[in-house]
C-alpha cells in the first residue's frame, strides 16, 4: 500500500479511501491511484482489514458431517445468503464423537467470526456461555442443551406422528422404529411422535420394535435383524442417514417387503423401487434462515427474536408406504411385485426436497 501511495504521490490513507469507495477523493487522484494499483499489482490485504475491524467476514458452520447430503444442503443454504453479504463460509465436520464438539467449536470461535451456525453432536452446550456475548450463534436441526441460543428446528414430533399415522392408516399395527441414537434431540423427539401416534391409534407400544445404531451400514443391518424378530410389517426410519443405510440393508437381509416411511428426503429416494415415502425437511431453507438470523442479530443487537423456530414438515407420499407384507413373498421378489404400482404412480416423480441432484 505504501508503494502505491508513493507511486501516486499521495498518502496511504488516500489509497485506502480509493478501494473503500470513499467519495471524498478527487476524480483525478482516484484515477492516478487506480493506475498505480494496477501497475504495482496491488490488492488490499483482507487479513489486515479484518484485524483492524476485529471481526472476520466469515461465518462458521459446524455440522456432524459435511459429506452427509442433509448437512451439505444446510451449508449450501447458509452460503447462498452469506455470499450476498460478502461473507465467507467456513465448514467443519464435528464427527460422531460428542467429546470433539467443544474443542472444535471453541477453536472456530477464536477466529472472531461474524457468526456461528451449529448442528451439535453433544448434549451439553453450556461451554458456549462465555462466548455468547462475542459471537452470534444459531443452532440448526438440533436445539442446544443447557444453553439459550437461537434455533431453527423442524417439527420432529409432528412429522414422526404424521409418518407413523400414515403407516397405521395403511393397515399396519406392527411398525418398527429405527434410529441413530437417543442422545440427539431429533431422534428423541421423533420417537416421541412415533409413540404418540401409536397411542392415538390405540396400538400398544412395544420396545422390541424400537432400535438404534443405524448410523452405519453395519448398524442398520444389526438393527434390522433385531427388529425382524418382532415381526414388523412396516418401518419408520428416524432420519435420512438411517434411511440410506436401512434401505440397502433391507435388500440384504431380504426384508424389502416391509413398508417404509423415512424422516428426511435423500438423494435418489424417488428413483428407488419402491420410491421412498418421506417427511420432507428442506435443509437449505434451514441454512438460509440461520444465516439471516445471524445478520439480523448483528443489525439489531437490542431487538428480541423468537429463540426457537419450529418449521413445519410435510409428508411426501411416494410408494414405499404402500408395500404390503402380505402381498409379496419374502425376499427380493417382494420388491418386484410392487414395482408396477410404484413405477406408474403419478407421485413417483416427485422432487420435493432440495436434496435432489441439481436445480
Amino acid at each position: 500500500m505504501h508503494d502505491v501511495a508513493a507511486a501516486a504521490s499521495v498518502s496511504a490513507k488516500t489509497v485506502s479511501r480509493v478501494f473503500n469507495d470513499d467519495p471524498h477523493v478527487a476524480p483525478a487522484t482516484r484515477e492516478r491511484i487506480l493506475r498505480a494499483m494496477k501497475e504495482l499489482n496491488y490488492v488490499p490485504n483482507t487479513l489486515a482489514q479484518t484485524f483492524r475491524s476485529g471481526r472476520a467476514p466469515v461465518v462458521g458452520v459446524a455440522v456432524p458431517d459435511i459429506a452427509d447430503p442433509f448437512f451439505s444442503a444446510i451449508a449450501r443454504g447458509v452460503e447462498e445468503v452469506a455470499v450476498e453479504n460478502n461473507i465467507a463460509v467456513s465448514v467443519t465436520s464435528l464427527g460422531d464423537e460428542p467429546s470433539r464438539e467443544q474443542p472444535v467449536i471453541e477453536s472456530l470461535l477464536r477466529f472472531q467470526l461474524t457468526g456461528l451456525i451449529v448442528a451439535p453432536t453433544s448434549n451439553d452446550q453450556s461451554y458456549l456461555e462465555r462466548w455468547s456475548g462475542s459471537t452470534p450463534m444459531v443452532f440448526v436441526d438440533r436445539a442446544p442443551t443447557r444453553f439459550a441460543g437461537d434455533c431453527f428446528v423442524e417439527d420432529d414430533r409432528g412429522g414422526a406422528h404424521t409418518a407413523t399415522t400414515h403407516l397405521i392408516r395403511h393397515g399396519h399395527t406392527r411398525i418398527g422404529f429405527i434410529g441413530d441414537t437417543l442422545s440427539i434431540p431429533t431422534t428423541h423427539n421423533r420417537l416421541e411422535g412415533y409413540k404418540a401416534a401409536l397411542d392415538d391409534a390405540g396400538i400398544p407400544y412395544r420396545p422390541e420394535l424400537v432400535t438404534f445404531g443405524a448410523r452405519s451400514a453395519a448398524g442398520a443391518i444389526a438393527s434390522l435383524e433385531f427388529l425382524l424378530a418382532a415381526g414388523p410389517t412396516a418401518l419408520f426410519s428416524s432420519d435420512a442417514r438411517c434411511s440410506m443405510n436401512v434401505i440397502p440393508g433391507m435388500q440384504e437381509v431380504h426384508s424389502a417387503d416391509l413398508a417404509l416411511v423415512g424422516f428426511g428426503d435423500f438423494p435418489m429416494a424417488n428413483a428407488l423401487r419402491p420410491a421412498t415415502t418421506v417427511i420432507d425437511q428442506n435443509p437449505s431453507n434451514l441454512g438460509r434462515l440461520a444465516m439471516n438470523r445471524i445478520l439480523d442479530r448483528i443489525a439489531s443487537p437490542a431487538k428480541k427474536f423468537r429463540r426457537r423456530t419450529v418449521l413445519p414438515v410435510n409428508l411426501v407420499e411416494r410408494a414405499s408406504c404402500l408395500v404390503s407384507w402380505e402381498a409379496g413373498t419374502a425376499g427380493a421378489a417382494g420388491v418386484a411385485a410392487t414395482v408396477g404400482v410404484a413405477g406408474t404412480a403419478g407421485t413417483a416423480g416427485n422432487l420435493p426436497s432440495e436434496l435432489r441432484p441439481a436445480v
Copy 2:
C-alpha cells in the same frame, strides 16, 4: 492480554509465551499466568495471531456446488487432513456460471489463505498467474487451463473407455453418451474415451447418440428424448450428477430398460434396481491428496512435484449394465424384469465409494 499480564504482574510477551508453549517460562510464572487467564476468561485472538504471521490458518475449497455429493466428499477429504494440522476449511460454491469463478476465487485469495483447492468451472485460469507466488493452489477433478498449477485428476479417458467397452462386451453397439457440457475438461475427456472405445471395437461414432445438458432434471429428460430417437440400447452417463438426473428421467420417459454405466458413484446407486454400474472415483481421496500437496508445497518450497497426477479409476459392476433392451418390454415393466437378476446378484451390495451415507 494486557490485563492478564497485569494481573500476573508479568509482561505481555510472557503471557504470549505461555499459550504458545514456549519452554522458557518458569513453572511458577506459568501457573500464575494460567490462573489469570482463567479468571479473566481470556482467549488469545486468532485474528491478531494470524495477522501477525501473515497467513490465515485456513484453506479455501472452491467447487461448483458443495451440496453435490461428489464435491462434498472432496471437501470432507480436505477437512480430514486439515484438522490434523490445525487448519480450518472455508468452502465456496462457484455455481454453474463460469464468469463467477474469477471474482469468487480472487476474493478468497485476498484472505492470505494457507492454500486453495479448486475444481474450476471456467475454461481459463490465467488470472491466477499473479497469485501463484503468494498462495499455493491445487486443482482437483478438473485440470486448470492456461495456468500451470498442481492438479489431481482422474483417468477420465481411461475410465470412459472401460465403461464403454464394458457395454460393448455386453453386446451393445448403439450406446448413447449423456453429459453436462463439453466446456468442462472431464466431460471432454470422457467423450474422448467413449469415442476411442467405439473406435477400438470398430463401431462407427454417431453424433446423434451424443448429448449434453443433463446438469438438471429437465435437461436430462430433454437429453433422453433426443437420444431415444437414435434408438440406443445402452447409455454412458458422463458424471454422477448426470446419472442422478438421468435415472429418474429414464423412469419418467419409460426408457428404464436401457443398459447404463455411469462415471462416478453416487448415493444409493447400489440400492437402485437395477443397481447402477459405475466407474468409481474416490473423491475424498482426491481431497486428501490435494490438502497434502498444499502442506508439502509449504514445507518444501524448493522441491519439485509432479504437476499433474492422474488417479486410476475402476469399474464397479453392479447390474444396470446387464439390462437388455430386447429382454423386457418398454416401460416400467422392463425394470421389474431385471429385478431378479439385480436383487440376487452378489455384487449388488457393493459399497466401493466413499459416497455411501456413513462409514
